[in-house]
């Protein structure tokens, strides 16, 4: 039996949501439809299943927080809408209940060739590190900063002939030349460049 009203009579500690249909593609921020397995404590539902929607969204946000990102979809931001919740199915072995669910959410991913703005947070002799949204590890090599040279000092900076400075907390417009998924850390790194028109520090 798969009726919703079974839950509080089950010994099941958790409900699993089985989310159907992943349709995603990413570039910067994208609204996607995603599949997910979500587990919800049975006791957070009342007899009429009125709390189901709320429990699902909370659970999804929890899962997003834990999972952070995947290689294909990028970083998970938020659930925007619950498109549908199907009939639950009891899983015999675990006592969990599975719901097929479709939802829309927002993800973030960087792509090669994309032009973005980021903020400098660390300067080294051979390049600078930037942050852009959830991506904390973006590297801009000095080789990819045409006309800029390192100016050593207590706080080193990069500067060009026109005295345009790349310093900590400066906003820089760059082009993405490559990205890398780091499985262990569950995050992306990116290599960027200032080679191109209208790229560089933004006032």
């Amino acid at each position: 039996q798969t009726g919703r009203y079974q839950f509080h009579s089950l010994a099941a500690r958790t409900l699993s949501l089985f989310i159907v249909q992943m349709k995603s593609f990413s570039r910067m921020f994208l609204k996607v439809q995603m599949p997910w397995n979500v587990i919800i404590p049975a006791d957070s539902l009342d007899a009429k299943g009125l709390m189901l929607k709320k429990a699902i969204v909370i659970r999804l946000m929890d899962e997003f927080a834990c999972k952070k990102a995947t290689k294909d979809r990028g970083y998970f931001m938020a659930v925007t809408t619950l498109e549908s919740i199907g009939e639950g199915r009891v899983r015999q072995n675990t006592g969990d209940v599975l719901f097929p669910v479709v939802f829309s959410g927002i993800t973030f991913k960087m792509y090669r060739g994309e032009i973005l703005q980021g903020v400098v947070h660390k300067i080294l002799k051979h390049g600078v590190f930037l942050r852009c949204g959830p991506v904390q590890n973006i590297y801009l090599s000095h080789i990819k900063m045409p006309d800029y040279h390192y100016v050593p000092g207590e706080n080193g900076i990069f500067m060009n002939d026109k005295h345009s400075k790349i310093d900590k907390d400066v906003i820089v417009r760059f082009i993405v030349i490559g990205t890398k998924w780091m499985e262990a850390e569950r995050e992306f790194q990116a290599l960027v460049s200032l080679e191109g028109d209208y790229l560089g520090p933004v006032s």
């Binding site: 570039r27 994208l30 996607v32 927080a65 990102a69 998970f76 931001m77 490559g178 990205t179 290599l191």
Partner: protein, 134 residues
Amino acid sequence: MSGEEEENAAELKIGEEFLKAKCLMNCEVALILEHKYEQLQQMSDDPMNQVSQVFEKSLQYVKRFSRYKNPDAVRQVREYQLAEFELCVLGNLCPETVEEAIAMVPSIKTKGRAHDDDAIERMLNDLSLIKKFE
């Protein structure tokens, strides 16, 4: 580095699925995430628990890099006849000249959709007017 050759933003060779998907501008994401945050505050006893680092950093980022603050302005920008991705880049970076726009989004010129320089210039003017009167 990732070898996703098909997914090169500069030439708009991102794949059919991508073109069908919904690409969002920073200002749109800001509106959505702020709304989400308020919802979470109402729904959960402990909203901070639900808000991950990713969410927080992204919200900070889109608020900082939003060119349009007003939802009506955002809607007006959205109405332009461009590929979603192109619209997002222009809406995010707000180039001031036609040259800059083409440098940011080369595909508006090369895709053969009759976007000549005058048309691009008119569009940029409109986008900046929307910003002025927001």
